[in-house]
Symmetry: C2
Subunit: 403 residues, 2 copies
């Protein structure tokens, strides 16, 4: 019997989400048990609507370019399956699987997407449908439980650390400078904002760093900034986009265009830096500027971390091998060798991870406005080298799929 | 008699402002006529206050690292000399020159800084002080008259083009996406915003581009965005930070923190994208997001243009040779060979350039919302290759000076 594999991508993409796809295709082609490799367009939506494409014969050039292509090449989705397994979506998913002889399913995504993996697996088990289902982690947020880190995080903090390194170098030019407040992504957690601390390795550390896991009070923030500015005549402040004040209120501007909810009920944030800048301006009357690193944190391709690409590929390859060992309802996690930096890959039950959050360790936060060297030890191996991208006309070249 | 050279840096820095310094030091060391090489800290302020440092014995490693160090390594200034040549500042400048036997003066800066070059030269001529004064161009804005382009511009549009390339790739992931409005720097002119068009070379062009040299009306803007969004279910819009509406009003948000004036009376802009996003949201009721590329446009070091570094170095070297030919009151300009891309360096009277603006050619603007291929032909040679930066700990390594 012909047995085919289907892969989908979901959630906010990263710089290496397509490297995992590369790993899957490379590995799947090695195994005779797998006949065709299909891609589901726009995550699970493509499966529901029978919009799938054949990736088996993707040419070598475009396959290689997947490693340097940001954004989910198959298209992404933020689609939440119902808890009720009798929902019509599940029936339609199964129809697509049956129609195309799909018996292996891989889903590349973050903790929301692992909810989808979990539900589809439960549905198949309940209905005795023969299909292995495995999740592959992907999120710049680095908030997946049990995994040392997540593919996508390394490239994001490599971009953040170098951006802060550059911004601080620029700021230092002026005798009398500004307070510069840089807003860094990170849903619920400060993993990405902490990445700014890595610029200290080139003597360009931010002066202040605020994470949602620390205690934040506006009064202390103003005092902190005042002290730094009095000493240096400038200040570089990094803040996570979701920090809350002492009353538990998000520090967002009213009428901010960015406050919307996605289908998982997560708000889209942005505007904290600008709001804090207004506070500094009003209270301290010193020049201030707000910068959001924004979307580039998850898609800047010119300096992708080499380790990140390798690990994302390995996750894909490992997942394929595990499918063939009859594993299902699992997600790949990364385990770090405690001595020299080396990663091994394991499986864990997806229900242990889905919809859960790994927070930044409180013991790595200093004085609620700085990050300890423990974090630098943890994060440095992730960013040391950059992938050497193929460019054409000065632009990083991207893979193209026929859809 | 000992004759020394002094160099200063001024205005908003670029990624290659220190490459020109590298060129100056390298060339000056070759000539016996030049004894010591001094740097003026924080532009002309360092000369006024006798804060200068000796660069003659800068070690080879830090000299080489200048090529990949953004921000003005000598410190920058936005200091405007008085029109009245009897002002005390001029006397103090001359005192510093006399004290340190300075008879050659180079100033790296934009069109404001060329005003400083012009005034100092006039003062020295008026007072029969033997000193050659030459300006070296530097500005990401590319707004210097007579020069084919300016050092700093190439790296800035290389970053902008690749950022747009990445953002568009990310945006394309979603079936039903957002309107993304990207705000790009550029004082008075659209040279930088036009750089976004280069992403078309990787099929990732912005859908709409608005420059201050085009006619902008909010009604047409809303209509443009509506049409693109109806067709693609997303839209990528690039706008210059200084576009004005049909009544000649800047499209800034009220209470925006970024609206301040520098000592030349130039306003610091920012906030246009957010304001336009509010308009789209209110009029079209579709999801929208504002992104400012911000400071990284002038300091992102991981992908500096190789051509930019070479030309910035050559400007510095050429200027030193011209000083020794008794040239003064001049500024270096870049002339392009009309056939194959090749740059030659010329001098032009500084008063022809100081405080003047080279606008983006109107004939390269299409339908007030797009850029013609003529611009791509012009700009492509500037961005084709990137300098291979030395990194340490995953960060671009910067030169350090003892101050």
């Amino acid at each position: 019997m012909e047995k085919n594999l289907l892969v989908g991508q979901s959630g906010g993409p990263t710089c290496v989400i397509n490297s995992s796809l590369y790993g899957i295709i490379k590995e799947a082609k090695k195994h005779l048990e797998i006949n065709k490799i299909y891609g589901s367009l726009n995550g699970i939506e493509g499966t529901i609507n029978d919009q799938i494409i054949d990736l088996t014969s993707l040419d070598e050039m475009n396959l290689e370019l997947l490693k340097q292509t940001p954004g989910a090449i198959l298209g992404s989705a933020r689609y939440c399956l119902k808890d009720n397994l009798n929902d019509n979506d599940y029936k339609k998913i199964k129809e697509t699987f049956v129609k195309h002889n799909i018996h292996y399913f891989l889903y590349i995504g973050g903790n929301d997407s692992m909810d989808t993996v979990n539900k589809i697996n439960m549905y198949f088990q309940k209905n005795n449908f023969d299909c292995q289902v495995i999740g592959i982690p992907k999120t710049i947020d680095n908030d997946l439980l049990y995994s040392d880190h997540t593919p996508g995080y390394a490239s994001a903090i490599r971009f953040i650390a170098n951006s802060i390194n550059d911004i601080k170098q620029d700021i230092k030019c002026y005798k009398k400078g500004k307070v510069t407040i840089v807003e860094i992504m990170g849903r619920n957690t400060g993993w990405l904002a902490a990445g700014s601390k890595l610029a200290s390795l080139n003597d360009n550390a931010p002066d202040l760093i605020y994470l949602p896991e620390g205690n934040f009070s506006i009064a202390k923030f103003v005092e902190d900034v005042k002290n730094v500015y009095q000493k240096n005549q400038n200040a570089l402040v990094c803040v996570n986009e979701e920090i809350k004040d002492e009353n538990g209120q998000y520090l967002l501007q009213e009428n901010n265009n960015s406050i919307e909810s996605d289908s998982f009920g997560h708000k889209q944030f942005g505007g904290v830096a600008n709001n804090l800048a207004t506070i500094i301006k009003n209270k301290l009357h010193i020049p201030v500027r707000a910068i959001e690193l924004n979307l580039l944190q998850r898609c800047f391709s010119s300096s992708i971390s080499l380790v990140d690409i390798k690990e994302a590929i390995n996750c894909g390859k490992f997942a394929v091998r595990q499918l063939l060992k009859n594993q299902t309802g699992k997600v790949v996690i990364l385990k770090r060798n405690p001595n020299q930096y080396r990663i091994s890959y394991k499986l864990i039950s997806v229900d242990k991870i889905a919809n859960k959050i790994k927070y930044f360790p409180k013991e790595w936060i200093i004085n609620d406005n700085d990050i300890s060297n423990k974090f630098i030890e943890y994060a440095l191996p992730l960013i040391t080298k950059s992938y050497h991208c193929k460019c054409e006309n000065g632009l990083v070249k991207f893979a193209k799929l026929k859809k």
